[in-house]
Every structure is written in C-alpha cells, then in structure tokens.
Point group: C2
Chain length 329, copies 2
DNA sequence: TTGTACGCGTTATCAA
DNA sequence: TTGATAACGCGTACAA
C-alpha cells in the first residue's frame, strides 16, 4: 500500500492535518515543521492521491482535449505542444481520439475541469456546462466560449508583402478553397485581399485536398498560369512539401528560379528538402495561448470571446529575391 | 451540484446502500426495487463519481497508452482502433503524447491500472510495478511483460507465396533495413527467408527511411535491378504509397506491368490511387488483441509472454498475375 | 501554531 | 432483501 499523509504524520510526530497544510504550502504552519514534513514526505516516497483530493476539492485540475482527426501533421504537432505546455502548469491533460460525443462522455467520467476542441469537431455538445475553448473557428459570430484563432488575413498579408519586397509580382497561392472549411477559405481570401491591396492579380490555384500530393499535382497548373509566377504560397505544410517535391523533379531551383513560402509555422519546416520559409503563428506560441485560455476560463468564469493571434514570418531558404532571367522560360 | 446515490435514495425511498447495490447490479436486491432505482437514477441524470469509486475500490479501470511519436499513420490508426476497442469494455483509456517518462508520471497520478507502450519507447521505466503490455518488440528474449507482435516472417512468406502463385519470379522488397529498428529488420529477414525457401533470388532495396518519399525514390533502383522485378513488396503503407506514385509517373501500370503488395493492413489501403493489396495483421484485430492482453494482465497477474499474431493477406487491385510481355522492357 | 473532527461519494461488511 | 455504518485519503473549519 502506498504512503498517505497519516503515515507521514506518524513519522514526523505531527497530526495529519498539519501534514496536509505543509504539503499544500499553507502559511499556517511553522517553517521548521513544514520543512521537516516535506523532507519526511520525500523520504517516504509520498505521492498524493488524486482521487481523494478530487473528492473533497470538487476539482480535478485536468482538462481534456478532443482530437478526432489524427491525420494532419500540423495538428499532431500542435497537440504535442499543447501537451508540453501543460507540463508547466498545475493541470494535466488527457487526450481523446474518439468522436466528440464519446470523448465528452469520457471527460465527464473523469470530471475534467475544462476541455479544448478543434474547429473540426463542431458537432460537439455545447449544452454541456463544461468550460470550453475552441481553436480555429472565428467564423461564427454568436459563440459562448472563447476561441483562439490565428489571424490568417494578416498572415497572408505579411507573406505577400514579404515576397513583393523581394521583387515578386506574380505570386500564386496553392491551397484548398471553396469548401465548407472556414479556415481554408480565410486563407485564400486573405491572399486575394493582400494581392488586391498591392495591385497584383490573383493567381490562386485550387487543390483537391490538403495532402502533399494535392500540392504536388497543383504545380503543373501553377506553371501554366499566363503570367508565370515567380513565387508560390503553399496553403499548408503538406501542400508545400508536395510543391517543393514537384519543383525539384522539374528541375526548378528553389529559391533561385521560384520562391516558396509555406503556411503553418512548425519546426518541421526546417527539415524539408529545402528548409522552408513560412508564415503562421508558431505552434509553441499557439499552444501556450490555448492552454492559457482554457485555464483562464476554468479559473475565472470570464469569457474573452475571440482572440486572434499574430503570425510570424520565419525566414529560411525557400524564398529569395526574384531573379531577372526567370521570364525567359 | 450533481446528483449522488443519496439523492436517489431519498427519491426512491430506500437507503443509499441499496441504491449502490442496485446500480452495481447486485443480486442482493429485489428485481422490482432495482428497476425502480435504475429508473429514478436515469430520471435524475445520475452520473457515478469516479473519484469516490476509485477511492474505495483501489482500482481505476483506466489504462494509459504511451504514444510518443505521433507521426506514422499506421500507428495513428492503431491508436484510434485501440481507443475504439476499449469502448466495449469496462475500461477507459487515456492517451499520452509525451515522453515515456512524463507519461508514466501522469499515469501514476491518475493511478491507471495498466499501460500499453509501443516498441519505440523502450526507454520506459520497467521498475514501475504497473502492469504493462508492449506492442511490437518480440526481439528481446528476457522480458517480464506480455508482448503483442505480428508474425512478420509469416506475413512475408504469405506475400511472396501469393505473388509466386501469380507467376512472379522476380519479387523486390523495398523497405528500411540494417538499422536498429528490430521490427523493420524482421520484415526484410522474413522476405529473404521466404524467397530463399522458394528458390528465388533476393531483390531487396534499402530505403533511407519510412516516409512515402523514401519509397518514391527507391523505385528507380528497383527498375535497375538486373532481373527486373515484376512485383514489389513495400515495407509500409507510406513507402508503398510513394512506390505507387513513382510507378504512375513513369507510366508503369499497376498491376498490369508490375504488381505491388504493401505491408501493413489498414483500411487506408483501400483509398490509395490504386487500392492496394496488402499483408499484415488487420489493425482492428491487432487493437483487440492489445486491449485484451492488457486487461488480462491487469485482472489476472498472469504473464503470457509473447503473442505472435497471424497476418492476413487482403486482396485488392495492386497485385495481379505476371504479364508475359513485361520482360520486353 | 497545531490538532480534532467532519465531509466528499462510493463500496463493502455486518446486522436487522 | 434491506439498512446502518465503517472505511478510502484528503482538505478545512473550528477548537485548542
């Protein structure tokens, strides 16, 4: 059987309520005794019993994360980062890969203090009175829970401007569009708006999906645009990877012949065939914000409805100044 | 505040200990009262308090799954399936995407009854006395916990034989080899052994990694083997996807010009460019076995050390009879 | 500053 | 067949 505060009390010659106070760093116990108790506790290998604590505290210090679609790598990275971000807090995170419905079932059993959901699982049960924070859906106007979102428009603006300052005039965007995926739509719209603002013409190319292969296939279309682009903005990590691959195969040098900026800002951008310059809110930052938001929400009933995060452009090797002789092609 | 058994007791005019019995389907309570209590409980929206239960039962009915490497799609699918498999049991699963070390930390806090680990995280702390089941490492001989593994050798045997019966004599294997990844090595060895048995010559091609791109690149090497293969066995889903892509680009028809069988048996094989014939233990089956094993382990201290699962060959469209005129190339 | 005693929601043991 | 009641490990008023 594992050691309890009573065992510690006996060992330290104090009552167990004193032990409890000491363990919780209460000011109601003399420093000397506190130290002594802490030492004894460590010696005996004491581990607090969560269940007992929870029973009296009515709080678990646990938040649940629903992650029903395991596929996309960017989300995987985000989840890992969120998990890591929780480590420096008093909270633990449990992860569910089930449907929102059964996930919530589980979370209720564990009596989580709050939960994080991704945009995709909007078929969540909002009637639940569990504090909630969502990532990636700023579309709806009438929401009752905080939403963390990246400022996609600003991201596109930065990317376009960055390329423009490098001398690029023909900038294509490759990504999924015209679906009911609000996030993807925001990206294209942001791109179009940014182009319009500077006075450049829209050169967006739609993909069929979000996989690398979709990016791979789109390159042919890009190269057949009348005013051949000297730069491409890829709509996601996977898509950009596919684009990069296709360019390599066609013998088009990046960034000499053609520049590429990828959406999403994750460490993996560093390790593609050619390290990719990218735009987006850095995942670690994103994770911090999400974790912060749910804790805030749990601890103080406040609802700061929508928070738009500012993206960062991370310079690497896939984007450079436009080359003079590229039009000869 | 949520409703407790005491609330139910009051409402149903019985003592709360009777309610407890009824809720646990004890035979010590008359059927009529049981039904009544169950009805009242449902009406009041009763949800049992796990913490309280756990406090007295010394058991959580929760098992933890350590999943430190989120990337590989096959594992993602397996995790999802394991999660699903738990739904039909009395157990819940919690998932950790942290390092084995911090994952175990968390699991201890939650006081899980057992845990599942994947081969990769062999830096786990075996000194813990938490029941453990591992997936995918049958290499080591002296283990103290159950191991679930696929019979890789038999899988390769089946694949080779299947192709051989289709008339193929030159069968290449494309996969990672000569690393310290025991699982990958077992696959190649299985292939070689199977080829030797039938009297065919080894045509294995090593990749640099396990990504689709590694498979993609390997195809060139395959096509330059002296006795040009009429069939390829891809070492994993990702690798095979890359192979398939490369073949398409080169205008090589599958399966008319060249047959392809992929290792791993997951539903996604159905939705590749050309539905892939594959070999391996079906994930759902694998998941069931793993879940069964850990529960067994938790409930009856027994340790049935290693369990090798038999693979299944699932026929789809990527493999067919050898064509006569292929040697003309 | 420390100790006593009660309660959190359940299960389990014993009496009734 | 049912009902009291004692744990389970901990936090916390309240008393000392």
């Amino acid at each position: 059987m594992s050691v309890t505060i009573k065992d510690i009390a006996k060992e330290a010659n104090v009552s167990y309520s004193t032990v409890s106070k000491a363990l919780n760093n209460s000011p109601l116990v003399k420093e000397v005794t506190k130290q002594k108790i802490l030492r004894v506790a460590k010696e005996m290998g004491y581990e607090p019993n969560l269940a007992a604590k929870q029973l009296v505290r009515k709080k678990t210090d646990v938040v649940g994360l629903i992650w029903p679609t395991i596929e996309r790598i960017v989300l995987a990275t985000l989840v890992t980062n969120i998990s890591k971000a929780f480590e420096s807090t008093r909270y633990s995170m449990i992860l569910s890969v089930d449907s929102a419905e059964t996930a919530i079932e589980t979370f209720k059993k564990f009596q989580v203090d709050g939960m994080i959901v991704f945009a995709e699982s909007e078929n969540m049960i909002p009637e639940e009175n569990i504090p909630l924070v969502a990532y990636g859906v700023s579309g709806k106007s009438e929401v009752t829970y905080p939403i963390i979102d990246a400022n996609h428009e600003q991201a596109m603006d930065q990317a376009v401007e960055y390329l423009y300052n490098l001398g690029h005039q023909n900038i294509a965007y490759v990504g999924l569009m015209n679906t009911d995926d609000a996030l993807q739509n925001e990206k294209v719209e942001g791109y179009k708006k940014a182009m319009r603002k500077i006075g450049l013409t829209d050169q967006s190319i739609a993909t069929n999906g979000l996989d690398w292969f979709d990016g791979y296939l789109a390159v042919d279309n890009v190269l057949h645009i009348e005013q051949r682009p000297t730069a491409i903005i890829g709509g996601s990590y996977d898509i950009s990877s596919g684009i990069l691959r296709a360019l390599q195969e066609k013998g088009i040098s990046v960034p000499e012949d053609l520049s590429l900026i990828s959406y999403d800002n994750i460490p993996q951008m560093e390790t593609t065939e050619i390290p990719m310059t990218c735009i987006g809110v850095p995942v670690d930052e994103l994770a911090e914000e999400i974790v912060h938001a749910i804790i805030e929400r749990v601890e103080s009933e406040e609802i700061n409805v929508v928070k738009k995060l500012n993206p960062t452009l991370t310079e690497r090797q896939s984007a450079g100044p436009v080359s003079e002789d590229v039009t000869s092609n």
